[in-house]
Amino acid sequence: MYHGYSLKEWLTTTNHKRIGILYIITAVFFLIIAGTLGMLMRVQLAAPDQTFLDPFQYDQVVTLHGLLMILWVLTPLGAGLANYVVPLQIGAKDLAFPRLNATSYWTYLFSGVLLVGTVFLPNGGPNTGWTLYAPLNTIQFSPQPGATLAILALGLLAVSITMASINFLTTIVKNRAKGMTWTRLPIFSWSILMTMALALFAFPPLAAGLALLTSDRVLGTVFFSSTQGGSILWDELFWFFGHPEVYIVVFPALGIIAEVFMTFAKRPLFQRKIFIIEFAAVTFLSMGVWMHHMFTTGVNYDVLQAFSVTTLAISVPFEGLVLGLVLTLYKGRIRLTAPMLFCIAAIFTVTLGGVTGVLQAFPTLDYAFRGTYWVVGHFHYVMAGTTLFGLIAGLYYWWPKITNRKYNETFAKITFAISFIGFNILYFPYFFLLDMPRRISTYSVLSGWASLNFDATVGAFVFGPAVILTILNLIISYRKNVPCESNPWEAKEMEWTGDYSGSLSTSQIPTTPNSPESSKLQEDDVK
């Protein structure tokens, strides 16, 4: 019996809560694999001229680490929390298409199994980096079958996420309970709506690129090996997907931060309507910035300058979101619980990570940043920092709801402190490794990069174990089974109370004499 259900019930479930739990467990599993790969990289880079991993192996570790973390860990962890929480927040009994939801999950799981399985094929898996640039990704330069399988696995994941986006978009539009108007919709659900809309937009171009690449690798076509634009064609298709993808990764975490801040500061969201408009602006603009990943490709400079402008434009509403979150704390009654601490850390990393991104938005500055550890530092701050911290905060925050148990708060705070310190020791040095190229397996002692790399590895050995301890804390709390009241945080949001009329996210909306009577839902819809 697992959490009250038999194995068969877990394998056949179409219920959003159990599927949410499955997503979370699977994502944590892939997190451990991808995190171990990251540790291997840091061990290899700790000192100059190391041969612990040979270059080809190192390249495969880099590629698998990147693909797993972005697509098989962060995105699904957000999807898992969304699966559990969104129907509760909107007052629906389940998602619009429950069997499709289950199919999304199992497809995700099997696609991950295929991807990790590529290491067992002759010559292993892909070695191109997660960006799979052409023509390195063609059969001529990456002949190993593992690379083809990885591309198919990625395509299967794209299908999984597209199914999920169809499901969530239909659910949020059609399955809201009576009285749950758009203005009352909780912020986390808004963030998932934006995430899924962006996913619907972003994954098909990736699928198209992967279809053409598969055709190249399996059928011998030359879409990406052609010297008449093949490289840039992949660049365009991939980044047209790739940029919205990184917003897909971070949006659920932003939604969680908003919810956590509201609950633990006991304040409504600062300027909720403006917040949602800014969120929509970031969503919309993120579809039009992709060529900032191509500043050094030699494409027409005026076009690139236009994309620089759109990239800078997107930073304005994004900073507005961050300010709105910070101002939510103003005049609050703040409780520094573990989820709150992780969210505060997440705001720090999104600000620092964000400004290092804005600096890259200037093509001139990007000429120096491109392909170096500055970029690696930037995206780890926003992904391993904001997104991971936000999702961990979400796990802690909704843990009592999902498992009806208390976790050890003191242990959680201690592991938070260790995580945060380790995280910064690991990634802050990257901003000073401006001339160190990405994806190199070692470096000479003459480069001068040794001491910063060593510091970063020390940080990795603090941050990595801290993440493991966080997971352990949750597992141990589950086993200990210390029961918990149904709303330990005194939260006012709908998933806790079943009642949106008093929720903090809606407290700025004046109630009218015509407010629907059925603002309270059935008790068992919310448990």
């Binding site: 390195l136 330069f141 900073e319 704390l329 600096l359 001139t364 491109r370 190229p437």
Partner: protein, 224 residues
């Protein structure tokens, strides 16, 4: 004697320092405010039970517009400051006054072809105090021709010529200046080792080297 920074690097550093200063200040304000709030507004015992004030905040749309306008002004200024900084195909240096070198990237080395047909593998010799235009392409996969000391790079893409220009500084008492070209795009197992020295010689010494090379190239082509 130590090497002076090339002029393009000085320009880049100035722009970077300005932008980074603004960035760090913005971060400090935002994060500082957040930490200040988190401490100042801690929940204390004995506080009255909190009641969310409905309709508490008047619309701050005006402040939002002011904030957005200020940000746009700052970002636009930085954009204008950065627009003309790097000589590339949009603002190329004058070809007539420059030395044009064709660079071909391979897995996993660079080779350099000079205007008179001289062909050299693995190291790039250039004269001091001269505008150099690099015409960069690749023979196999995508590479990146990166001159971090000058703060420029451009991708080496098969089937395509990309242009980047630098101005080498004067020797200033050094017998030669040593810089490093590195590949900054993942190109396979040898990516780690894909470096090439860029050696700046006194113009006379450079011309001598070039003449020597013509002799070497012709004997090898005659003999080989």
């Amino acid at each position: 004697m130590s090497q002076a920074l090339p002029p393009s690097a000085v320009d880049w550093n100035n722009l970077f320092n300005l932008a980074a200063f603004i960035a760090v200040t913005a971060t400090a304000i935002v994060v500082g405010a957040m930490i200040f709030f988190a401490i100042k507004y801690r929940e204390k015992k004995g506080q009255p039970k909190f009641i969310p004030e409905i309709g508490l905040s008047k619309s701050r749309a005006r402040e939002a517009v002011i904030f957005a306008t200020l940000s746009i002004i700052i970002l636009t200024s930085l954009t204008i400051a950065s627009y003309r900084l790097t000589p590339n195909e949009r603002f190329p240096p004058p070809v007539s006054q420059s030395l044009v070198i064709n660079v071909t990237a391979h897995q996993w080395y660079f080779n350099f072809t000079y205007p008179n047909g001289v062909y050299y593998v693995g190291t790039c010799y250039v004269p001091a105090d001269k505008s150099i235009i690099f015409n960069v392409t690749s023979d196999d996969v995508m590479h990146d021709f990166g001159l971090m000391d000058f703060r420029v790079k451009i991708d080496a893409i098969p089937g395509r010529y990309n242009v980047i220009g630098v101005t080498t500084p004067p020797l200033d008492g050094n017998s030669q200046l040593n810089y490093t070209i590195r590949c900054y795009e993942m190109c396979g197992a040898g990516h780690t080792f894909m470096n090439a020295p860029l050696i700046v010689l006194d113009p006379t010494a450079f011309n001598q080297w070039l003449i020597n090379q013509i002799a070497v190239n012709s004997t090898s082509s005659a003999g080989g």
